[in-house]
Amino acid sequence: MINDKNSQKIVDIIQNFARQHSLWVLAYGTGCGAIELPPTMTSRYDAERLGVRGAATPRQADVLLITGYLTTKTLKRVIRVYEQMQDPKYVIGFGSCTINGGMYWDSYNTIKALDRYMPVDIYINGCMPRPEAVLSGFAKLQKLIQAGKADGAKKYKENLEWYRANQKNVIPNWRMPEYNW
Amino acid sequence: MVGSPVLFIAVPLLAAFLIPLLGMVWKESIRILPGLVLLYMLVLAITLLEQVMHTGTIVEILAGWKPPWGINLVFSPFTGILATLMILMGFIIWIYSYRFKNVDFEEAKKYFILFMMLVTGSVGIVLTGDIFNQFVFIEITSISAYALTAFYKHRDSAEASFKYLMVGSLSSMFLLLAIILIYSQLGTLNMADIASKAHLMKPEFKILAVIFFIVGLGIEAEIFPLNGWVPDAYAQAPGPVGAAFAGIVVKAGVYALIRIIFTLFDVSGTHQFLIVIGLTTMIISEMAAIRQDRLKRMLAYSSLGQMGLVLVAFGIGTEEGIFAAMFLLINHAIGKSLLFLSGSYLVYNSADKYISETNGMGKFLPVTSFLFALGALAVVGMPPFSGFWGKFFMMSAAAHANMLLIIALILSVSLIELVYYFRVINRIYFYKKESHITPKKPTVNAVIAMATLGVIILIIGFYPDLISGYLHQASQALLDKGKYIQDVLSTGQLLTH
């Protein structure tokens, strides 16, 4: 019965619906982008009507929001946080800095392309992206989830060695527990 | 018949004089002779005591003069028990001090002579039936005690001895005054005779005599304002002498006081006076004891407190009270002697005899420490050791006499006593030894002496019936004044026939 394909499909639909409408966000306020989150969450734009809600710890979170540039120092922590999150999990790159370094494109200690180090499901462009952009980003993510295409975590698992190599490349003293998903 | 009471005085006195003579012949004899004498006396005392218990008081007349005029010795259950106790203590202390001053012949000779004198005098005080004779014995005891106090010839011991001497001579003076008063009034010195004629005395003279007796004997019996010499003397005298003071001399003093109060005169208020003075002694000396930092002084003060308790028990005045007092007396003699004997080994090699110098001795001197603890428990009155029974009988006697407040006072003072004894026990067993102290192992004879005392404590603790029968008779004998008079005086009559 459980293995039956149709019922599995129904279960998938329900699960995806639930995942889609209940996004608990762990906002990693790395850069200036963090300032855009309060308006997103509060009365004006009210992200909670989409089911988006803050999560306190990585164990409870579904979405990791990288709000801005990442230095190599913070990258280590971000990776740690990402690895502590439970499947299914999604990453949103927030602002230009996560895409190509943005205004820090030539900084010696800033990460330029986030997706070399962790699987990003959605990038939100802008410097800074306005709350509307953030909301549209969430909506896009929800669509991806509904379609079952937000599989960054799976990619990360599959290409772990490549990611690890990149990560170790920029982080000099790599003292982290093994990733046990 | 092994002998008669007169031997209790004659033999040790003789021995005291023989010691130097024999010492010229065989040096070891100065050590052995006292022991033999005391052993003989002990056997004699026990046989006589058995006899007395069954047949009644033995009165012996010296030199053929019949009682009202001559000197007589009374071996009643009461005096007999005290004499036996003293001789027993003397014997045990002899065992303990057998090796005392082992190397120094002259010193040892002096010690044993004085010790024999001390025992003679004390036993004499108890046994004699003549009041002037008693005075003489008190002087013998005192003088040997002065000498023994100053035995070490240190500055401190000489000072202590001098204090003792000063107060002691005052005591003799008052005693003599009292005796003169009595003789001038009644023309007799025989105790029984005085007792039977006491009502003939003018009341004010009687009271005066009692007061002088109380002061004179109170110094020996260590009652409160008169006992300033005690801590110094106990602390400065050699260990066995301290034990002898606590186990023998005080007992004699208390006996004399009690005899005066119970038998000689029936002045009203003396019992209450005993209680008040006993309580005062007890409270003040226990308070002083808890603040001592030297072991022997602490023991001395504690001894004062115990004697105060004994006086209170006598002051109750009932048969039960006297029984309890006797019990306490015996327990104090045994327990305190044990404490002095073992305590002097605990602080053997320290100059100042501080309590803190007993730290950690439990590890190095296990037997001595154990016996000290046993003695302390017994003195404090922890069941099932001997002290408990004394305290319990005393309490119940007081309760029967409806003296509840006194019980409460005594118990609160006992609390103080308990605290300082347990402090010492804690130090002995659970503190680290001070590095500059080298413990001295007790000699075999010392261990035997202390162990004997320990065994007696345990035996009495578990089986108080062993002595309680005797003590009941003794207390009846003390209370029955008429019988005492009759016994003594009728012996005289018998002789005339």
């Binding site: - | 005052l170 008169l226 208020g269 009988f393 609160s412 605290v419 067993y429 659970f430």
Partner: protein, 616 residues
């Protein structure tokens, strides 16, 4: 020879033999020790029957030993704990010094506790009481820690109590000419009025010292904490119950006959409740497990005292039941602390963490014991507390029940602290080598924790002997009335209502545990305690992030006004004042011969001046 004599000879002889055997060999000593306890237990339960007595006399005092049903309740605690603790201590004390001394005093204290229970007269009661005091005292100072503080405190307060009791005993003896306790009971209504007030007060002073009631409790935390844990289990579990034993007798035989006993009962009950509250608060503030459990013992005894003082049949039943339960769970907990101390060398919560996987059996038994202590169903503690509340409410003690409830709620705080401090928290490299305690130590704990569970579900096992004992004390049987009326018990005293509830608890728990386990079984992983969500930071091996310093700081801040004053400081002040006074008085002995001569003269003068009033 009577079996009772044999029992005491056995225990006393065993004690001495054990002491002597210490010099010969360790194995012989341990064997003798355990055999003595076992043999006397077996002897007691097979050969000595309720109602057996033996008469004898010492120095004209006629004494009697025997056992009644009331004493049997407590003998259950004493011998049961004795057996458990003896096995435990053989393993716990291995390799320590002065074991002969320890075992000797251990056996003597067991013997004297049995003696207290079997004394039918006041003198042997007192003798055994004092023997219990000094033997336990010698164990309290066995470790040599804080000897002058905890030891002397203990002995002072015990002696205070004992002397109060001695005074009461001689008062009774002087008045009735008999030392028999039954005679005293019969004669009490006819005592003079002053005696009727003072006797219970004096007796209660003695008993409340051992039961560590409020103004007389200051010795208890130190003494419990400083004695070796192998003995503390007996000390806190059984020895303190002797105080309860005596208190109940006083309340039943004396307070009941007071013309107006309400104020008396209320005072004691409130003192018990205040003890419970204050000791609980102090337990919360402790960082050392020994201290925590010691204060907790004081608190638990506070409940029992309240129950005794209220004195309705149900309250008495609850007090006795709680006594048995307290003996079980507190002994288990002290043993657990001992096991941890043995394995890690420390008992501080701030030092040891995360032992749960290293010492699982110790954890399980202390978990059960803690649940019992906290009074959470279905363990034994709940039954006792439930009866206590019910009795307090029925007897109109409204505020008292709040006080007790407050204490019992706050108890959760230290209960959690105990479990968390040792067993939970981060698992450190420092304690990686720690292994489970030896079987001989774990087994007694497990057995007692299991008993706690059994007694919780089938309280009738314990309630029935208690009921018999209460009938000896003159209560009518509680079996038919209270047990069935309460709806919690059936006529056998077992928890009928608890059965469906236990099914519900068990069923729910299992169901959701299965859901939790089965759901995504393959994707559920164990991660170490270093792998925690701490802002992306990875704690290093030597970094211990466990929260243990200032554990209940906010709560303590909230209650700090009541904790500002400590009873101890008052006693210390009193003690110092007394010593200063003594020191002042001691100067009477100036050490100056002239002064002494003057004393003599002054004494004579005073006597002469007042001769008429003194001897007139």
């Amino acid at each position: 020879m009577n079996m009772i004599y044999i029992l005491f000879t056995l225990m006393f002889g065993g004690a001495i033999l054990t002491f002597l055997a210490h010099k010969v060999s360790g194995l012989l000593r341990d064997t003798l020790f355990v055999l003595t306890v076992l043999a006397s237990t077996v002897l007691f339960y097979t050969k000595i029957h309720t109602g057996d007595t033996v008469d004898f006399s010492i120095s004209g005092l006629s004494l009697q030993w025997g056992i009644n049903a009331y004493g049997r309740i407590f003998s259950m605690i004493v011998l049961g704990l004795g057996v458990m603790a003896s096995f435990y201590s053989v393993s716990y004390m291995k390799g320590k010094e002065r074991l002969g001394y320890f075992y000797f005093n251990f056996l003597i204290s067991l013997m004297s506790m049995m003696g207290i229970l079997m004394s039918h007269d006041l003198v042997s009661f007192f003798i055994f009481w004092e023997m219990m005091t000094w033997s336990s005292y010698f164990i309290v100072i066995y470790n040599g820690k804080n000897v002058q503080r905890s030891g002397i405190n203990y002995i002072i307060f015990s002696a205070l109590g004992a002397y109060a009791m001695l005074m009461a005993i001689v008062m009774v003896y002087a008045h009735t000419q008999s030392l028999m306790i039954p005679d005293m009971m019969q004669a009490f209504p006819f005592f003079p009025a002053a005696y009727k007030i003072w006797l219970p007060i004096l007796f209660l002073t003695a008993f409340t010292v051992k039961a560590a009631m409020m103004p007389l409790h200051v010795w208890a935390p130190d003494a419990y904490a400083d004695s070796p844990m192998a003995y503390t289990s007996v000390f806190s579990g059984a020895l303190s119950k002797m105080g309860i034993y005596g208190m109940i007798m006083v309340f039943v035989t004396m307070v009941n006959y007071l013309p107006d006993d309400t104020w008396f009962r209320e005072t004691i009950a409130w003192l018990g409740a205040i003890t419970a509250i204050m000791a609980t608060l102090w337990a919360i503030a402790q960082d050392d497990a020994r201290k925590l459990l010691a204060w907790s013992s004081v608190a638990q005894l506070g409940y029992i005292i309240t129950g005794v003082a209220v004195g309705t049949p149900l309250a008495m039943l609850s007090a006795l039941f709680l006594s048995v339960m307290h003996a079980l769970f507190k002994a288990t907990l002290f043993m657990a602390v001992g096991a941890i101390e043995k394995q890690t060398g420390t008992t501080k919560f701030t030092e040891v963490t995360g032992l749960i996987r290293k010492m699982p059996w110790t954890f399980i038994s202390s978990l059960l014991a803690i649940i019992g202590l906290a009074g959470i169903p279905p363990l034994g503690g709940f039954v006792g507390k439930w009866m206590l509340y019910e009795s307090l409410i029925n007897s109109n003690h409204y505020i008292l029940v709040i006080a007790i409830f407050f204490a019992s709620t706050s108890a959760f705080l230290y209960c959690y602290k105990f479990l968390f401090g040792f067993f939970l928290g981060q698992e450190e490299k420092e304690w990686e080598h720690v292994k489970e305690a030896p079987a001989l130590m774990v087994l007694p704990m497990i057995i007692m924790a299991t008993l706690l569970l059994v007694f919780g579900v089938f309280p009738g096992i314990v309630l029935k002997p208690i009921d018999l004992g209460m009938q000896t004390l003159g209560y009518s049987t509680t079996a038919g009335t209270f047990w069935s009326m309460s709806g919690l018990f059936n006529e056998w005293g077992n928890q009928i209502m608890m059965r469906p509830l236990a099914y519900a608890i068990g069923g729910t728990f299992l169901f959701f545990l299965i859901i939790l386990t089965v759901k995504g079984f393959k994707e559920t992983r164990y991660v170490t305690t270093k792998d925690i969500s701490s802002s992306g930071e990875v704690p290093l091996e030597h970094e211990n992030l466990t929260f243990s310093e200032g554990f209940y700081q906010p709560f303590l801040r909230a209650v700090c006004p009541v904790m500002k004053r400590r009873m101890m400081t008052y006693y210390q002040g009193f003690g110092q004042g007394m010593e200063a006074f003594f020191d002042y008085l001691r100067r009477v002995y100036s050490g100056n011969g002239q002064t002494y001569a003057i004393y003599v003269i002054v004494f004579v003068v005073i006597l002469l001046l007042f001769k008429n009033s003194l001897f007139g």
